[in-house]
């Protein structure tokens, strides 16, 4: 993981989280709820409306010779899912999403993992028209944002032909973005912009991203990007005219590793380094003037392993590549890239990466083993794809674990709009005292919780004097009620610090709240790992 002081140029290499338009729709739904409406307009209908609208635009006339042959490799996906609502964790609602896929092998369709979580039905269609075939997800990896699908319907495969993923990407050749729209293959011109290193969907991971500019609207749903006869990538996000693309060489090496059984998930660098454009910093660490590198400043403690790096080590080489003072290396395919990419360049979780470092006045070779990107590693766990949100209702008080999904329910601008203190936990590391965070997210009013009905977004610290870090801690803590009362204590800060509930009335109140608010289950708690 790289870091930089706020004015540092490296900050520019870290792209902001970008969302395809349909995610933004989910945000506006939240606004509707805040006005009291339980549900916004149906997603599926809107999607259809959009498709019809765009289907009529002259852009489709752009289909030309360059598109020939792609009809046999690009397919449409229709996904129905039970979308979780982290602000009402007990309720889900069906949504549908239209995506693209590309045939990359015998009975094998490649797409992004996005929107495949909580799926209830996946169907595929070829040629942009005709009947839909049921499909199944063979493999999905959410941190890598990739999935492989197949279908047992033989008729679906008739006429389809796998295409190759490019081994390199030329910056000079014409590129297009493809997708099916209203029965025709839409072919959109795109321009090469640059390569960057990031992974917007999970904080720890980083890999190469191709950035292209295109006039296309509403992309980010796994539209193939092609150049000549080759697929050079898959669009995974769009902001304005900028499309972010998973580049084919990255996809290719990942899929090969999967086939060979060596892909155990994305790995990452868990240490923090800083650029060293201020050469005096390197001099202060006694690095000879002719050498370059970047300074390691933070190495997390990982249980049961001795870190191979120490703060103030200088990274000279990573995986055989020289590191410059910006923290870049020269990639044979992509040119200058941030060294972070070497955690996913033909290397996967559990595999070794050779590092050459400068420590206390001398050069040293060490082997760094890539830890696996884990959604649950952080104090605020990253997207829990495919698992419904956990919650616990206690007499109308809603307790929820603090997760990135929960924060994201504040909308696209969630990093600024979510309560600052809650969002700030993302900057903190889990510790034995606080391995995770439980939030009193809201209160469903009932006579039992009178006086507390306006509380929200409070960090729960203790119940009846016992530490609560996860929902699993709650039941044992409730067993400690004193004199028939439960005492809840919250993080000291700007808000309320303490409340008391009647222990004997709690269960009856919970039942009353469930009934009154139409909630089926009082809790969803997964056993702690």
């Amino acid at each position: 993981m790289s870091t930089s002081l706020p004015m540092n140029p490296v900050a520019a290499d870290v792209s902001p989280l970008t969302l395809p338009v349909r995610k933004i729709r989910a945000d506006s739904r939240r606004l509707l709820r805040f006005r009291g409406s339980r549900r916004g307009a149906s997603w599926g209908i809107l999607t259809l409306g959009l498709a019809l609208l765009f289907g009529l635009t002259p852009a489709l006339a752009a289909a030309n010779g360059a598109a020939r042959g792609w009809e046999r490799a690009v397919v449409s996906l229709e996904i129905t899912r039970n979308q979780a609502d982290f602000l009402q964790p007990w309720s889900t609602h069906p949504q549908s999403a239209a995506k693209a896929g590309i045939v990359v092998g015998p009975r094998e369709i490649l797409t992004t993992a996005f929107a495949l979580d909580n799926r209830t039905l996946v169907r595929v269609q070829h040629g942009g028209r005709g009947s839909w075939a049921d499909a199944e997800v063979v493999w999905v990896d959410y941190p890598a944002n990739l999935a492989l699908l197949t279908s047992t319907n033989a008729a679906f495969w008739t006429g389809l032909k796998p295409v190759a993923l490019a081994r390199t990407i030329s910056r000079d050749r014409a590129i297009q973005v493809l997708r099916w729209r209203a029965g025709n293959l839409e072919v959109r011109k795109a321009e090469f912009n640059r390569f960057s290193v990031s992974n917007p969907s999970i904080t720890d991971a980083a890999h190469v991203v191709l950035e292209i500019n295109s006039e296309i609207d509403g992309a980010g749903w796994a539209e193939p990007v092609v150049s000549g006869k080759q697929v050079i990538g898959v669009v995974f996000a769009q902001t304005g005219n900028l499309c972010q693309v998973l580049p084919a060489p990255f996809l290719r090496s990942l899929l090969e590793a999967r086939r060979e059984g060596t892909f155990k998930g994305l790995g990452y660098f868990d240490f923090t380094w800083q650029p060293s454009e201020n050469s005096e910093t390197l001099r202060a660490l006694k690095l000879p003037p002719e050498r370059d590198g970047v300074v390691v400043i933070d190495v997390p403690k990982r249980p049961a392993t001795t870190p191979v790096l120490q703060p103030r080590d200088i990274l000279l080489e990573v995986d055989g590549f020289d590191v410059d003072v910006r923290g870049d290396y020269l990639d044979p395919i992509y040119g200058h890239l941030m060294l972070e990419n070497l955690s996913t360049r033909n290397k996967w979780a559990g595999q070794p990466v050779a590092l050459k470092i400068w420590r206390e006045g001398r050069e040293l070779d060490v082997v760094y083993t890539l830890p696996k990107v884990e959604v649950a590693r952080r104090l605020v766990p990253e997207s829990a794809h495919g698992t419904p949100p956990e919650y616990l209702i206690l007499g109308g008080l809603i307790l929820q674990p603090l997760t990135r999904n929960y924060l994201e329910s504040w909308g696209q601008d969630w990093e600024r709009r979510a309560p600052f203190r809650l969002a700030y936990f993302r900057n903190e590391e889990p510790s034995p005292e606080r391995p995770s965070v439980v939030v009193l997210s809201q209160v469903l009013p009932d006579v039992f919780n009178l006086g507390y009905q306006d509380l929200r977004s409070l960090v729960l610290e203790r119940i009846n004097g016992r530490k609560v870090s996860g929902l699993n801690d709650v039941a044992p803590a409730l067993a400690q009620a004193a004199d028939g009362f439960h005492t809840f204590e919250f993080l000291k800060g700007e808000s309320l610090q303490r409340l008391v509930l009647d222990a004997r009335q709690l269960d009856a109140a919970t039942q009353r709240v469930l009934q009154r608010y139409g909630i089926e289950e009082p809790a969803l708690i997964r056993p702690s790992p």
């Binding site: 002081l5 454009e277 005096e280 001099r283 203190r421 900057n427 009362f485 509930l501 009647d502």
Partner: protein
């Protein structure tokens, strides 16, 4: 937290004078030339700003106005009604927490023939009031009439982190009205001071209880301010909670939820105490008191005390009523979280690296578009959550004045952790860290993850004077 909900009412521009009748003879126009320091370039000042406000003559040959009308003033001119001659005034007392100031005029002729205005009681809700002032939109004195809409605690935006009693009226109160009297039956019942953008037909004025508190405070020749009890009072309305505290389920008693680290308070009160009465004011279960016919938040009862006075409190503790005496003092532990006045920003510069204490004033220069989570956390949360790791005066590296010795150092707006191994608890530590030690390099470490920047010590020292000269710094420090 950072947003100003109100706008102050001083306005830019000038005005002239004309004719009038009785109370308006005592209403004066105040023209201030002021210059604010720049909190992100602490040796510099903003451009001189000319702003207009209103004041009024009270007994003792003084002019009352708002603190924000005369803040950072380099020159204050006052003009009498119908009198073309400007008089020079100066600040005698200023209360930034209550946004009031008293001015004196050197030339006694200014007060000749003026019958000072008298103060009246807190006006009743729905009663009619008239404002007098020199607002924007013309040059003559302006009167507006309205009713008292409501009376409750409001944030006083001039200081930003204090709430005192304020009166809302639908009489138009506009920029330039600031400091002007609000009259009812020819006596002053308020001083116009702020409005709220987006809220129409709503202006606010400072009511007599706050004005009288200020006037009493300065009787001893200095202004202390409004004391703070330092307790968070929360509603106590949950039946179970009241039962656990063995308190009858009625309308009185609000709970002390937490305390600020004020020793005089911590010795007397504790969390879980239930406040039944403060002075003569019974506390409602929602934390409010009945204050001259208005249900307002209970801190009003504490604000009746002067700095150093003692309030007697009735407290419910351990199942019975206890009487305690709470000494009341002005609290300045949150000074960095409010607007600062009168004292110029402190800083230290070494080899072009500019250091200053972290404050709300500094944060405001960054703006909301460039939020820095670490800085926000350090300023607003750490002191509560982990007082042990909190620094008395966190220091930021504000900027780097470029010179070949430091041009590669790209840091700015960063919280300083250590310099040359010295943990930076306050600005003075920065000076000590740079001026002691003998290593070849100065090493500066930043929060949160100890990012590191180095400076070559001898060349930095050699360049120091030149950098000050190049960028026009009169001194490398203001401590």
């Amino acid at each position: 937290m950072l947003k100003k909900a109100f706008s102050l009412l001083a306005f830019l521009g000038s005005a002239a004078l004309l004719f009038g009748a009785e109370p308006e003879r005592c209403v004066v126009q105040i023209i201030t030339s002021s210059q604010q320091p720049m909190w992100d370039a602490p040796w510099r000042f903003d451009a001189v700003r000319r702003s207009g406000g209103t004041g009024f003559v009270i007994k003792g040959r003084k002019i009352m106005t708002n603190a924000h009308v005369v803040s950072w003033a380099k020159q204050i001119l006052v003009r009498r009604y119908q009198d073309p001659r400007p008089y020079v005034a100066r600040v005698l007392f200023v209360g930034h927490d209550c946004d009031l100031a008293l001015l004196e005029v050197e030339n006694d002729a200014f007060f000749e023939g003026l019958e000072p205005l008298e103060f009246g009681p807190l006006p009743k809700v729905r009663s009619t009031v008239v404002t007098y002032g020199y607002p924007a939109g013309g040059e003559q004195i302006s009167y507006t009439r309205g009713v008292v809409s409501r009376i409750e605690l409001q944030v006083y935006v001039h200081i930003g982190n204090r709430s005192l009693l304020a009166v809302q009226t639908d009489a138009a109160i506009n920029p330039g009205n600031s400091g002007g009297p609000v009259l009812q039956d020819d006596v002053v019942v308020g001083v116009a001071f702020q409005n709220m953008p987006g809220l129409e037909n709503a202006g606010f004025f400072i009511p007599p209880p706050v004005i009288q508190h200020f006037l009493k405070d300065v009787e001893d020749g200095r202004y202390d301010g409004f004391p703070t009890a330092g307790i968070r009072i929360v509603a106590l309305q949950n039946p179970a909670y009241r039962r656990r505290l063995k308190l009858e389920d009625d309308r009185t008693g609000a709970r002390v939820d937490s305390l600020l680290p004020i020793p005089s308070t911590e010795q007397v009160l504790r969390p879980e105490d239930v406040l039944l009465q403060v002075g003569t004011y019974p506390i409602g279960s929602d934390g409010t008191v009945m204050f001259e016919g208005n249900r307002v938040f209970g801190s009003v009862a504490f604000q009746t005390a002067q700095h150093g006075e003692t309030l007697s409190l009735k407290v419910w503790r351990d199942g019975q009523t206890t009487e305690v005496s709470l000494p009341m003092f002005v609290y300045d532990g949150d000074r960095l979280l409010g607007s600062q006045y009168d004292v110029l920003p402190r800083y230290f510069v070494h080899a072009g690296l500019v250091f200053t204490p972290l404050s709300q004033e500094y944060l405001r220069t960054i703006g909301r578009d460039a939020p820095n989570a670490e800085i926000l956390y350090e300023l607003y949360y750490r002191r509560h959550e982990s007082p042990k790791t909190a620094r008395p005066e966190p220091v930021v590296l504000v900027s780097v004045l470029p010179h070949p010795v430091n041009a590669n150092l790209k840091a700015g707006r960063a919280l300083v952790d250590r310099i040359n191994g010295v943990r930076i608890e306050k600005l003075a530590d920065v000076v000590r860290a740079f001026e002691s030690g003998t290593n070849t390099h100065h090493l500066i470490e930043f929060l949160p993850n100890r990012a590191l920047e180095a400076l070559d010590r001898p060349t930095a020292l050699a360049a120091h004077a030149e950098i000050l000269k190049t960028y026009g710094l009169p001194s490398d420090r203001r401590l």
